[in-house]
C-alpha cells in the first residue's frame, strides 16, 4: 500500500509549472483582443472538467468566521466540497462525498448501520463531537447528538463546507472535533428542471426531480429525492447472541443466534426541500426527510434479526427556517437574523435478541419498541460592522429551546436489579410516558452571545479574536474563546496559528436514560471540553500545484462515557492527541488533475492507551481526467489504517483497508443529458468498521463489497 503511493509520487514528480501550449496561444490571442471583444469572451466559470480550478481557485467558505472568505486566509482549517466535486467522484450520498476531506473518516456503527464521523481521531459512538449544520443552522438534536444525515442525497446539495478543529466560539455546542455545513441548492443552482434516475447493486433505486425558477418575483427551488435499497449483503460470522449461546449452551440450551448471516442495511428515504428567496433580503427553507423501514445493521444489541422478521426504524424530520440577510442594512452594517424550527418523530421496533434468546426464556424473541418526539426552536441575530478601518467586527446573540416529548416504549422484558439479568414479562407491556420508560420528557434552553473581531493590523497580518458565552438551563454555562493569526508570508504562502476552545453538550440520553440494560443517565454531567492548537500552511508552489499542511494538538477534559465496568454516564475521560494533515492538489494538464491527502494522528486516553477504534492513518487519492470531449473519468481510492482495540478487547487487531472507486461520465456541457456509470470497491476488498464494544461480533461490521450503479440526468424547460 505505502509502496504504491510512493511509486505514484515519484513517477509523477516532474513539476507541471509551465503553461501549456494551448494556454499560451489562447493568452496571446486574448492580448490582441479589443476591449469590446474581451467583454464578449465567455468565461468557463463552471468548468466541469477542470477540477483543480474548481477546487483551488474558487474556494470561498463562510463557515470559518461567518463571513465569506478565501480558504487560504480563513481563520480555520477548512475544506470545501462543491457540487462539481460531488458530480466528478460520482458520490451518491453526503457521506460518500465527505470521505475526500483529509482527517475526516465516515465510519458506521453496528447498531443502526448509521454514520460515525471521526475527525482527527476523535471517534465515539454516537459521534456527538461533530456539529452538523444545514444551511448554517444546527441539524442535530439534543436527544442523542445525532443529525439525520444517513443517506442524505447529493442531488439537493450546492456545496459542503467542513472545518477540522474547534468552532464553538462561533457555533456553540458540539463544534468540538469539527463542523460540517451542508448548503442546499437555491433556484439559481438549478437549470430549469432536472430529472435524474440511478440504479445499481442490491436493488438500489434513486430518482430525483428538481426545478428552479421565478414565480411571482420569488426565486423558488423545489427538490424531491427518493431512494431505496435492500442494502448490501455483508456477512456477519458471529454476533452477540453467539456469545450468549456459548454461555447457555453449557446448560444444554439450543443456540438462538442468526449468525452467520447477512446484516440488514435496508433503506427507504424520501427528501423534499424547498428554497424561496424573496424581497432581496429574505430566504425561507422547508425540508422533510421521511425514513421508512430502515434496517438496523447488526441490530441495536449487535444480534442479527431473524430473516422473516426484521427490526425496523421509521422517522420523520421536518426543518424550516426563515432568514433575513442585508449586506447594506446601514452604512458599514451587515445584518442577519434567523428563526428556525426542527421536529423529529422517530419510532424503532427492535428485535434485540432473536427467538430462543437467554436459554429459551424468550421463545418469540426479545423485543423493544422505542419512540420519541423532539423539537428544537431557535432564534439568532448577528451583525457585522466594518466601520473601523482594518476591522470586521461581528456580534451575535440567540436563544434555543430543545424538547423531548411523547416517549413511547413497549417491551417484553425487564431487568432484575439483583442479578442484572433480563427476565421475561410474557407479553409486550406499554411503558410509554411512564416513570418506567427509558427516559422521561425533558427540555433545555440555551441562551448565547458572541463577539468576534478580525483586525488587519499590518498589510500581511490578520488577527481574529472571538469569544462566545453559552448558558444551558440543564447543565450550566461555558465560555469559549478563539484566536487566529493569519500571516501572508509571501504572495503564494499563507501561515496560520490557531487556538480554539470548544465544548460538547451532554445530550438528553446521557443525562436522563434510565434502564439497567441500556445505561443509566447522570443529571450532574458537565460539558466535555477541548483545547486545540493548530499551525497551518497554505502554499501555491506554482499556479498548478497547491499544497496545504496543518499540525494540531488537542486536549480533551471531562470526556463523557461509562467509566470502566459501570453503567452510569460520567465525566471521566482525558484525551490527548496530535497529528497532521497534508493536502496536495496538482493540475497535471489542462484535462487532468490529481488530489492526494494524507492524515496521521496519535491520541491516547487517560490510561495512556491509544483511543480505541480511532484510525491513526488515512490517505485519499483522486484522479480526474477528461479523456475525450465530454467524456470524463474519476478514479479515487482511500486507505484506512491502524485502528487500535480497547485495552480489554481480546479480538485481533482490525485489518487496514483500501477501497477504490471508478466513475465514468458523459456530459454535454451545454446539452441536456448527463450519463454515468460507477463501480464502488472495485477490488472487492473485505473492509470492516470496528464494533465499539466486544460483545461477540468477532469480525466487526462489514462494509459493502464491489457494487455498481448507472445514472442518467435530463434537463428540460
Amino acid at each position: 500500500m505505502k509502496k504504491w503511493f510512493l511509486a505514484v509520487a515519484i513517477g509523477l514528480s516532474s513539476p507541471a509549472y509551465a503553461l501549456t501550449d494551448a494556454e499560451k496561444s489562447r493568452l496571446e490571442a486574448l492580448r490582441g483582443f479589443s476591449l469590446e471583444a474581451l467583454q464578449e469572451v465567455e468565461v468557463k466559470l463552471d468548468d466541469v472538467f477542470d477540477v483543480f480550478d474548481g477546487l483551488v481557485k474558487a474556494r470561498k467558505v463562510s463557515v470559518a468566521s461567518g463571513v465569506e472568505q478565501n480558504i487560504a486566509t480563513a481563520p480555520a482549517v477548512t475544506t470545501l466540497i462543491t457540487a462539481q466535486d460531488i458530480e466528478a467522484i460520482g458520490a451518491r450520498t453526503l457521506d460518500e462525498a465527505l470521505e475526500m476531506v483529509p482527517g475526516l473518516h465516515v465510519g458506521k456503527r453496528g447498531g443502526g448501520y448509521e454514520y460515525i464521523y471521526t475527525i482527527r481521531g476523535i471517534h465515539t459512538n454516537p459521534s456527538p463531537e461533530v456539529l452538523v449544520l444545514l444551511n448554517g443552522l444546527p441539524f442535530k438534536t439534543a436527544f442523542d447528538g445525532r443529525a439525520a444525515t444517513d443517506g442524505f442525497p447529493v442531488s439537493v446539495i450546492q456545496r459542503i463546507e467542513v472545518i477540522r478543529g474547534p468552532g464553538s466560539a462561533l457555533y456553540g455546542a458540539d463544534a468540538f472535533a469539527g463542523v460540517i455545513n451542508i448548503i442546499t441548492k437555491h433556484a439559481a443552482d438549478i437549470q430549469d428542471t432536472e430529472l435524474g434516475v440511478r440504479a445499481g447493486s442490491f436493488q438500489s433505486r434513486n430518482a430525483w426531480l428538481q426545478r428552479g425558477g421565478q414565480v411571482g418575483g420569488i426565486d423558488l427551488a423545489v427538490m424531491l429525492d427518493w431512494q431505496r435499497s435492500d442494502g448490501h449483503d455483508g456477512w456477519v460470522e458471529a454476533d452477540a447472541q453467539t456469545q450468549f449461546d456459548a454461555v447457555f449452551g453449557q446448560y444444554s440450551a439450543p443456540p438462538a443466534s442468526q449468525a452467520p448471516g447477512k446484516l440488514n442495511a435496508q433503506r427507504d428515504l424520501l427528501h423534499v426541500y424547498l428554497d424561496a428567496g424573496f424581497s432581496k433580503h429574505w430566504r425561507w427553507h422547508g425540508g422533510l426527510r421521511r425514513n421508512q423501514d430502515a434496517g438496523l445493521g447488526l441490530g441495536i444489541a449487535q444480534a442479527l434479526d431473524p430473516p422473516d422478521n426484521a427490526s425496523m426504524a421509521d422517522s420523520d424530520v421536518l426543518t424550516t427556517d426563515l432568514s433575513y440577510h442585508n449586506v447594506g442594512f446601514a452604512p458599514n452594517w451587515e445584518v442577519q437574523a434567523q428563526l428556525a424550527y426542527q421536529y423529529v418523530d422517530g419510532l424503532g421496533e427492535y428485535i434485540m435478541f432473536p427467538p430462543g434468546a437467554f436459554g429459551g426464556a424468550f421463545p418469540g424473541g426479545f423485543f423493544w419498541d422505542a419512540g420519541r418526539q423532539n423539537d428544537e426552536l431557535r432564534l439568532e441575530g448577528s451583525a457585522l460592522f466594518r466601520g473601523w478601518n482594518n476591522h470586521a467586527l461581528r456580534l451575535g446573540a440567540g436563544w434555543q429551546q430543545s424538547r423531548l416529548r411523547d416517549v413511547a416504549e413497549r417491551r417484553n422484558w425487564e431487568v432484575d436489579l439483583t442479578t442484572g439479568m433480563p427476565t421475561p414479562l410474557g407479553e409486550m407491556i406499554d411503558f410509554s410516558n411512564s416513570a418506567a420508560a427509558y427516559i422521561g420528557a425533558t427540555s433545555r434552553r440555551n441562551r448565547f452571545a458572541y463577539v468576534q473581531d478580525t483586525w488587519a493590523f499590518h498589510p500581511a497580518w490578520e488577527l481574529t479574536a472571538g469569544i462566545r458565552y453559552d448558558d444551558f438551563s440543564d447543565f450550566g454555562n461555558t465560555t469559549n474563546p478563539r484566536l487566529a493569526l493569519v500571516w501572508k508570508t509571501t504572495p503564494t504562502l499563507t501561515s496560520k496559528f490557531l487556538y480554539g476552545s470548544a465544548f460538547r453538550a451532554p445530550y438528553f440520553l446521557e443525562l436522563g436514560i434510565n434502564n439497567p440494560l441500556l445505561g443509566i443517565g447522570n443529571s450532574g454531567l458537565q460539558a466535555e471540553t477541548i483545547d486545540t492548537y493548530e499551525l497551518a500552511w497554505d502554499w501555491f508552489a506554482s499556479p498548478d500545484l497547491h499544497l496545504a499542511l496543518n499540525l494540531f494538538h488537542y486536549q480533551i477534559e471531562d470526556k463523557i462515557g461509562f467509566p470502566g465496568g459501570q453503567y452510569q454516564y460520567a465525566n471521566y475521560g482525558k484525551w490527548d492527541g496530535q497529528g497532521f494533515e497534508l493536502e496536495t492538489r496538482w493540475k497535471l494538464s489542462t484535462r487532468a488533475a490529481l488530489l492526494f491527502n494524507y492524515a496521521y494522528q496519535d491520541n491516547e486516553d487517560e490510561t495512556g492507551e491509544p483511543v480505541a477504534d480511532a484510525l491513526r492513518q488515512s490517505a485519499y487519492i483522486r484522479l480526474d481526467w477528461m479523456f475525450a470531449p465530454n467524456w470524463f473519468v474519476d478514479i479515487n481510492a482511500r486507505w484506512i489504517a491502524d485502528r487500535p482495540r480497547a485495552a480489554n478487547d481480546w479480538r485481533e487487531d482490525m485489518d487496514d483497508y483500501f477501497i477504490s472507486d471508478v466513475t465514468l461520465r458523459r456530459k454535454d456541457i451545454k446539452g441536456k443529458w448527463n450519463f454515468a456509470v460507477g463501480v464502488r470497491n472495485v477490488f472487492d476488498e473485505d473492509a470492516r468498521e470496528p464494533t465499539t464494544v466486544n460483545i461477540g461480533v468477532t469480525n466487526d461490521l462489514p462494509l459493502p463489497g464491489r457494487e455498481w450503479f448507472a445514472e442518467a440526468r435530463y434537463t428540460f424547460e
Binding site: 493568452l27 483582443f33 467583454q39 486566509t73 498589510p459 490578520e462 487532468a592 481526467w625
Partner: protein, 176 residues
C-alpha cells in the same frame, strides 16, 4: 491491482490537449489588466525616465500566476517596457502604474485606497463593490462574461486620463 491504476495515471500525462471554446476567468482578466493600459494616459511624472519600466503589479494573493507574465512579455506601453511585479505591501504599490488588488486584501481595501489617494496608480480589482469603496476599475461578471466598471472621479483624483473609447466600453459609476 495497482498496475492498472498506474497505467491509467501514465496515460493521463500523455493525454492530448483539447482546444477550448472559451477562456478561463483569469486569462481574460490578465488580458484586460494589460490591455487597459493602452486606453489610459499616465502623467509624465509617473515615470523616472523615458525608458523607465511600466509596472503592472499584483497586490496580495496572485490569482494570475504565469498568465500575466506571458501576456506582458516583450510588450511596451507608450514606449515603456512592461514589468510585472508581485507585491505584498501597499507601500510598494507607489512604484506601480497599475495594480491589481487581490481578494485577499478585502479587509484592507480602505487603508490601501487611502494610501494611494492622489497618486497616479490605476487600482483594479474584482472584489464586490471595489469601485464603490474607492477603486478605479472593477471586473464584474455578467452573463458568464467579464465586464468593466469604472469610476471617472477616481481617474481624475489619481491624475489619470481615460480615453473616450474606454469610457464608452465600460459601465460608469456616477455620484456614489
Amino acid at each position: 491491482m495497482f498496475k492498472s491504476l498506474l497505467v491509467l495515471a501514465a496515460l493521463v500525462l500523455s493525454a492530448s490537449v483539447f482546444a477550448l471554446e472559451a477562456a478561463k476567468e483569469y486569462e481574460i482578466k490578465a488580458a484586460f489588466l494589460f490591455n487597459l493600459s493602452a486606453f489610459i494616459t499616465w502623467p509624465d511624472s509617473a515615470f523616472a525616465s523615458k525608458d523607465a519600466p511600466f509596472n503592472v503589479c499584483v497586490l496580495g494573493n496572485d490569482p494570475f500566476g504565469e498568465r500575466l507574465d506571458l501576456i506582458a512579455a516583450d510588450q511596451t506601453v507608450s514606449g515603456h517596457p512592461v514589468a510585472v511585479r508581485r507585491i505584498a505591501a501597499v507601500a510598494d504599490a507607489l512604484a506601480c502604474h497599475s495594480v491589481f488588488i487581490s481578494n485577499s486584501e478585502q479587509l484592507r481595501l480602505q487603508a490601501i485606497f487611502a494610501q494611494l489617494a492622489g497618486k497616479p496608480v490605476l487600482t483594479v480589482g474584482d472584489v464586490d463593490n471595489f469601485v464603490i469603496q474607492g477603486g478605479t476599475v472593477q471586473f464584474f461578471p455578467h452573463d458568464n462574461k467579464i465586464r468593466l466598471l469604472l469610476d471617472p472621479e477616481a481617474f481624475r483624483d489619481a491624475g489619470l486620463k481615460a480615453s473616450a473609447h474606454l469610457m464608452r466600453v465600460a459601465q460608469l459609476v456616477k455620484g456614489k
